[in-house]
């Protein structure tokens, strides 16, 4: 490194607003903050375990020696034809009403639930973001028509539509995915539209226009990256909603048809047996609860990490305590923390509002 280069860098350091050793992207910073959030990390671990549980369902079936649809009339049922409890005859979580292994069925159910949850969220997000951007950016008549369409989709009684569809067609995975996707995108669209309305007035959008950028380029290259934060939070929070939605539809018998297991239809079957077979209700419900809770907590964590200014309602006192502690420490911050603090401060301009403030 030459002396002039050193001098040049020294002058740059003097001019630099933050201790910027290297350009960290928004996402790198978000990840750094997320990493220090124990609840969010625990949620990620739980979600990964749940996904592994779903992926490894055939392995579990193989290890237990119980295929998913195999009905164990002799070992899997009591003399009265009722399900056997956990641990009996090698059924770790017991059996269901026709003597199938509950653990294996919950594992296979996780496949359906997570697949439906993730796929419908992806569809709803892509659809919602695209339509929201179009409505917000173009405005005028297009916005008027689309915004009424969002309202209509949000106001629609989804159970009624699902019931109608299920009675016209036979219940199927495709209908479940269609119905859930259709009822999820409008909420995302509304938020994206609102954000787009404010973002499109920014000077950098005008700068892009003066360079000759077209509307699609502005929407997807200039506006969308500024929306990804709130959209990511929303999408994370939509996954558990979609999982529950699927369970609801399956519970009502208009979702995933038998004999394919889903958490919803296992619970539906279990309603007739809960007074004699507690495990039949508790374990699938627990799987559902753990999954939705983990996604919700992760969503909260991501929101906090993306925008450190917002305080979580219940964690408010903790955040304030941390702030006080940091102030008391004063110069006691490590260099690493100082960098993070400096950059957090810098990030406060231009970062979009969190989704929660908009909705």
């Amino acid at each position: 490194m030459s002396i002039t280069e050193l001098q040049y860098q020294a002058s740059q350091v003097e001019n630099a607003p933050a201790i910027a050793i290297q350009g960290r992207s928004q996402w790198q910073l978000t990840w750094r903050r997320l990493r220090s959030d124990k609840v969010a990390i625990a949620s990620i671990v739980v979600i990964i375990l749940m996904i592994l549980f779903a992926i490894l369902a055939p392995v579990i079936a193989h290890l237990t020696g119980h295929p998913v649809d195999q009905e164990y009339v002799n070992t899997g049922q009591t003399a009265d034809g009722l399900p056997v409890g956990p641990g009996v005859h090698g059924f770790i979580l017991g059996t269901d009403w026709v003597g199938r292994d509950l653990l294996v069925r919950i594992a296979y159910g996780a496949r359906i639930s997570l697949f439906v949850g993730l796929l419908t969220t992806a569809i709803a997000t892509i659809l919602g973001v695209t339509l929201g951007l179009i409505a917000g950016y173009f405005g005028g008549v297009i916005d008027g028509v689309l915004a009424r369409f969002f309202d209509a989709a949000l106001a629609f009684p989804y159970i009624v539509l699902a019931l109608a569809l299920a009675s016209v067609f036979n219940p199927s995975l495709l209908i479940v995915i269609g119905v859930i996707s259709f009822f999820s995108w409008a909420g995302i669209s509304r938020i994206v539209r609102g954000q787009t309305l404010s973002l499109k007035e920014k000077e950098y959008i005008e700068a892009a226009k003066s360079l000759g950028a077209g509307p699609w380029r502005i929407m997807f290259i200039d506006i969308l990256p500024n929306l990804l934060g709130p959209v990511l939070v929303l999408a994370t929070l939509y996954i558990p909603t979609a999982v529950t939605f699927e369970a609801t539809l399956s519970f009502l018998g208009i979702g995933i048809p038998e004999p394919a297991p889903s958490w919803g239809n296992i619970l539906s079957e279990a309603t007739g047996f809960y007074h004699v077979a507690w495990w039949y209700v508790v374990f699938p419900a627990l799987a559902l609860l753990i999954t939705t809770l983990a996604f919700n907590l992760l969503g909260d964590g991501i929101r906090d990490a993306i925008d450190p200014r917002t305080e979580r309602i219940f964690a408010g006192s903790k955040n304030r305590r941390n702030q006080r502690r940091n102030r008391r420490k004063g110069q006691g911050l490590s260099l690493d923390q100082a960098i993070l603090v400096g950059q957090e401060r810098d990030l406060t301009d231009g970062s979009p509002l969190p989704a929660s403030e908009e909705s």
Partner: protein, 362 residues
């Protein structure tokens, strides 16, 4: 410098001979109204904000035209009209003799490369989520002039040219100071080697030491690339420093236009004189001698501008005629033909407007 600006009030049919080779942009009687929607069920847009109302000006090749005036006088609107960012209500804009008024985006595309803008707010004009390299490289991406490594090299050359460290290619705007960000904005504007850069208050948001750096950079670039600037500011000293000629706007109209020294040393329009008297002087001796002309009242609403001369309600020299007849923008007695003033009773040399203003108040 003489003859670097011609301004006319007549919107005569411009024929090709009116465009000398040295004329880059000619704005002819430009009008921009923003409709104001009334409230109520059947309300139609009955009123207009007359942001720019009949402004004509000429920008010469390789020269700088300064545009000054109070906040809200239509400077920025005029700039956006010339840059083709907002549609024009009436009037014409010519670029190198070609009519570029209200072109479609596709038609405007070739001219986008020639006309670029530098914005006032160095924080707002850069997308916070994009790396500097991608911000400066955007013009190349949009016009598909360079890609991949060639684009990266071009961007780094530009960064070096405007005084940024090319190694900071991958940083985000938030990691730069205000002055550095404005340099990024300059680099982006420069990328396509435009002929005209419209500077919309490029240094207003910067502190004074940084202002000088950015102004010097702009001057260097003008010399190197033969750029023309339309330089908008409300800091009169900055405008005087950079401009060959100056146009003073008041409430959507041109009050006075001419070579910089003429307008600054011999202002003929009472508004220009008041504006100049209000500018702080660096020399305390001259500051002590200075007589400030205090204007009374507020800037009238551009929705319903005053009749006749728009400045008459606040003018210390106003007479009955001013409220009735609109003054033409023309050379006044004793002025060179390039120095135009729209005033019935122009300020004479040695006249004490400050005293006149005080008498008026009493």
């Amino acid at each position: 410098m003489t003859g670097s600006l011609t301004t006319s009030t007549d919107s005569a049919f411009p024929s090709d001979h009116t465009f000398g080779d040295d004329v880059l942009v000619r704005v002819d009687n430009l009008v921009k109204y923003f409709p104001v929607k009334g409230s109520g069920l059947l309300a139609r847009s009955v009123t207009n904000v007359q942001a720019v109302d009949g402004v004509s000006l000429t920008i010469k090749r390789g020269k700088t035209l300064g545009l000054v005036g109070e906040t809200g006088c239509g400077k920025s609107t005029l700039a956006r009209c010339i840059a083709g960012l907002i549609p024009i209500t009436d009037g014409k804009v010519y670029f190198e003799g070609q009519d570029i008024t209200n072109l479609s985006r596709q038609q405007m595309r070739p001219y986008r490369r020639e006309i670029q803008m530098i914005f006032q707010d160095p924080y707002g004009a850069l997308n916070p989520r994009r790396r500097v390299g991608s911000i400066i490289g955007e013009p190349f991406a949009i016009h598909k002039t360079a890609s991949g490594n060639a684009r990266k090299r071009a961007v780094q050359d530009l960064m070096e040219r405007v005084g940024l460290n090319p190694e900071h290619y991958n940083r985000f705007p938030a990691e730069f100071s205000g002055g550095q960000r404005q340099r990024i904005g300059v680099a982006r504007a420069l990328a396509l080697r435009p002929k005209l850069i419209i500077c919309d208050e490029p240094v207003s948001a910067l502190d004074v030491s940084i202002q000088a750096q950015v102004l010097n950079l702009l001057a260097d670039l003008q010399d190197d690339f033969g750029l023309s600037y339309l330089f908008i500011a409300h800091d009169l000293e900055v405008v005087r420093h950079v401009s060959n000629s100056v146009t003073v706007m008041y409430l959507g109209r041109v009050a006075e236009a001419g070579p910089g020294d003429q307008v600054y040393d011999h202002p003929r329009h009472p508004y220009s004189a008041a504006l100049l008297s209000a500018a702080p002087a660096a020399d305390p001796d001259s500051a002590a001698q200075r007589q400030r002309i205090i204007l009374t009242g507020d800037v009238p609403s551009p929705i319903n501008p005053p009749s006749g001369c728009r400045f008459h309600p606040r003018c210390p020299k106003a007479q009955d005629l001013c409220a009735q007849a609109e003054p033409h923008l023309e050379p006044k007695a004793g002025d060179p033909s390039t120095h135009l003033t729209a005033c019935h009773f122009p300020v004479e040399a040695g006249e004490d407007l400050a005293r006149a203003g005080r008498r008026e108040q009493r």
